[in-house]
Subunit: 199 residues, 2 copies
């Protein structure tokens, strides 16, 4: 399969690429590095990416920024960061990407454990991650040509504990190897509209 | 209690007002009608509303627009309609409203059955409604002064079947009387971070 990974240069993205390259041709996309670059907040940038790359068999999105901060100080502009970046950015990769996906191809987006298990300062993150899972459910009943869409919902990854650990007290971390397997299940398995929880 | 209802002039809003006025002082807000008007897409408009009304004991939001249409034709601009209106509009009512809420006060937002039971043409609606429920969960652990936040998640209402019925084949509709009771439970009961499903 020809697989495009958007967010290929991040901690999880690198391991997805390692896993996928054992069996598939992988196009690695970052916002500054990789084979190609994209700004997922820009429809033009996404359209240009797919025009350049052409048709693919699987789209993996493991990217997007969120706002973290106390609810008591949060503004609409703060909140919109996550809506326009991790949420609409990933949604738009799916909206544009569906037209560049071969028959039977799949789209896999990324949410995260806070969609159902909130953390302090994470109101934007819980909202956005729940929204991504909602989009996957809503889109899964409308894709054409046997296309499928799923999301992977990991706990905090062990390899990022030095940065994010303090925000996840008592959460069991998961290795990027385990997380990458969930993306593999989404792409190489038969399921549609599924949220693959990894924890 | 002093209760502000944003969306007071809609089908569900009117019944919430009828229910609440039996026991409370109710401020009715619409986008064009009501005691006061607000554009929930505008932070300035929301700030002006609360500056005018002052402190309240409960905020009810039963408003917001979505985009409906085939996934295959959907664009990022289409999708952003629901993100900026029903989602960020309601979120911003909570973000601003928390600062105008008396100790022990509550915020009640509105999602809908498609958050977990998708309909054709409703990818934006499923995403946004799931996002509202996620925000409620994320915000519920951070509100101060014994404030609470919940959402009501109704099925299609019987009184709107002539308009929306065809989009909900086989769904059991619910009366606005039943839906209004869920808002009453949210406001007069003790729960926090709860999604009151009405179906």
């Amino acid at each position: 399969m020809k697989i495009i990974v958007i967010g290929a240069t991040g901690t999880i993205g690198k391991e997805i690429v390692r896993n996928m390259e054992e069996r598939h041709a992988v196009i690695k996309v970052g916002n500054k590095q990789g084979d190609f670059q994209v700004d997922i907040k820009s429809s033009q940038s996404i359209a240009k990416l797919f025009d350049t790359v052409g048709k693919v068999d699987a789209i993996i999105s493991v990217c997007g920024n969120l706002h973290f901060g106390p609810l008591h100080e949060m503004t609409a502009d703060d909140f919109n960061i996550g809506l326009q970046d991790k949420l609409l950015g990933q949604v738009n990769l799916a909206l544009v990407g569906q037209h560049y996906l071969n028959n039977g191809g799949s789209i896999t987006l990324s949410s995260g454990i806070v969609s159902t298990q909130p953390i302090v300062g994470g109101a934007n993150a819980t909202c956005v991650n729940a929204a991504i899972e909602g989009f996957v459910l809503g889109a899964s009943i409308e894709l054409k040509n046997n296309q499928r869409i799923n999301a992977v919902c990991p706990s905090v990854v062990t390899e990022s504990l030095s940065t994010y650990g303090p925000f996840f007290p008592g959460y069991e971390s998961v290795s990027v190897t385990r997380v990458a397997k969930a993306y593999q299940r989404s792409i190489e398995g038969p399921l549609n509209g599924e949220i693959f929880k990894v924890w």
